[in-house]
Amino acid sequence: MLTVPRLGDLEMAVLELAWSAHVIDVKEAHRRLGEPRGITSNTVQSTLERLFRKGLLARERIGHAYRYSPTLSRDEFRAQAAAQAVGELRGAQASGVLAAFVEIAAKADRKNLDRLEAILSRARARR
């Protein structure tokens, strides 16, 4: 599984564009993202290059230019990034920055759950 790297705002916007357009090149990315943001074509190009190096975009040379496509779907990216972030938060749980409804690391031990179910049923019956 790919470790999802941390992304900046522009990287995220380029990735979003790649997901919606499926395949993009520097010109297209600059026209749709660079111009409205007032950033140069070189900045857009280096952002695409960074995403390629991070493994989030694949590229193919067509003529003189590269065309980029996402290596993960939006849903796959979200799922992996969320799992990774939750894992990191769990690691930091000792710092007190997180309170989970049921502890994230808690394993559903069937025997234990059955016993608790029985307690719950008895309490409901008493009502």
């Binding site: 999802v4 941390r6 992304l7 995220m12 849903d75 990216f77 979200r78 799922a79 990034a81 969320a82 799992a83 990774q84 972030a85 939750v86 894992g87 990191e88 938060l89 769990r90 690691g91 930091a92 000792a94 710092s95 007190g96 920055v97 997180l98 309170a99 989970a100 409804f101 049921v102 502890e103 994230i104 690391a105 808690a106 394993k107 559903a108 031990d109 234990n112 759950l113 016993r115 608790l116 179910e117 307690i119 719950l120 008895r122 309490a123 409901r124 009502r127």
Partner: protein, 325 residues
């Protein structure tokens, strides 16, 4: 006293007082934890937070008591008696100069370096957690109707400081009834409203001078008390404690929980304690314990006040023997 020596002595006094507090807490920890378990969760949170903060409170008390007469003399412009007692050139005085005490600098420097190292490690962990929280918000979708971030997976948690955010797994929204989600969200909102994450953070910082086992036991107990306090609020909100218990069990039985391999005995123990507390709540009042603790603290403070000068001189003698020889 040179400024560096003065601050070194203050650091050493604080450390010595904190250590004495830590020894008291450690020796009473098992007995206190057992006694506190019968108190209502909200009261237990207050007791446990006070308990983990006790070593630093005793450290502060040690500094204040040891420097009490000097502060008194300084505040009222009185003649101090520093030169009339203790060993020459070593007295806790804010006015009379004394020679430098290299031993005090060295000892205080070592303590400060250790504390700084711990603080840097904790800050790094906090920064990482903050970034993870930002990442979760970036991949999440804001649900304005519930005021939560919907994220992939099956988590239900509140994270982030200073303003906590509630994260709710899309799997939960798809699979659980609105009533279960209401109970889960009421619990998470209670964490945010009670500022539990800030309390947790302060408690962890305060507990840093306790021995590892005592710290782990007390913080685990504090976490359980906070969860139970929020369970109680969720039960009051939904007017159905058993619904909250049912929600806990339903969430605990989800199979796709990340890191499910990292099961701990403590977590299943907490789950059982929470379900039992919701099904069969049996709490007793903490008023008598509060009265006893208040009497004890007042007695201690009065003793410090009455024997202030004696404590001041005795501490000077001990420090002079240890640091000057």
């Amino acid at each position: 006293m040179s400024t560096v020596s003065l601050w070194s002595v203050i650091v050493l006094l604080f450390a010595a007082g904190s250590m004495a507090g830590a020894i008291v807490v450690t020796s009473l920890e098992t007995m206190l934890r057992r006694s506190l378990r019968s108190f209502a969760p909200a009261a237990r949170v207050r007791w446990l937070t006070t308990l983990v903060a006790m070593p630093y409170a005793t450290g502060l008390l040690a500094v204040v008591v040891a420097f009490g007469p000097c502060l008194h003399h300084l505040a009222f412009g009185l003649e101090d008696g520093c030169l009339a007692h203790g060993r020459p050139n070593f007295f806790f005085c804010l006015r009379t100069p004394m020679h430098d005490v290299p031993m005090a600098w060295a000892a205080a420097g070592l303590l400060l370096a250790f504390a700084l190292g711990r603080a840097v490690a904790s800050t790094v962990r906090l920064v990482r957690a903050h970034r993870a929280c930002c990442m979760l918000r970036r991949v999440g979708r804001w649900d304005a109707s519930r005021s939560v971030w919907l994220v992939p997976g099956s988590v239900a948690m509140v994270a982030g400081l200073p303003s906590p955010h509630i994260f709710l797994g899309e799997v939960l929204v798809q699979h659980f009834s609105q009533r279960v989600l209401d109970a889960v969200l009421a619990h998470e909102r209670a964490h945010a409203a009670r500022r539990d994450l800030a309390t947790k953070l302060i408690a962890r910082v305060a507990a840093s001078c306790l021995p590892p086992r005592t710290r782990a036991e007390l913080l685990s107990e504090l976490d359980l008390a906070m969860e139970q306090a929020c369970d109680a609020i969720a039960a009051a909100d939904t007017r159905d404690p058993l619904l909250v218990a049912r929600s806990l069990l339903e969430l605990a039985s989800i199979d796709d929980r990340p890191h499910a391999w990292a099961a701990t005995f403590a977590s299943s123990e907490h789950l059982e304690a929470r379900v039992r507390a919701l099904c069969e709540p049996r709490w007793r009042s903490s008023r008598s314990a509060f009265a006893a603790a208040s009497t004890l603290v007042t007695g201690l403070l009065l003793t410090c006040l009455v024997f202030d000068l004696k404590i001041h001189e005795a501490t000077e003698t001990i420090f002079a023997t240890l640091l000057v020889g």
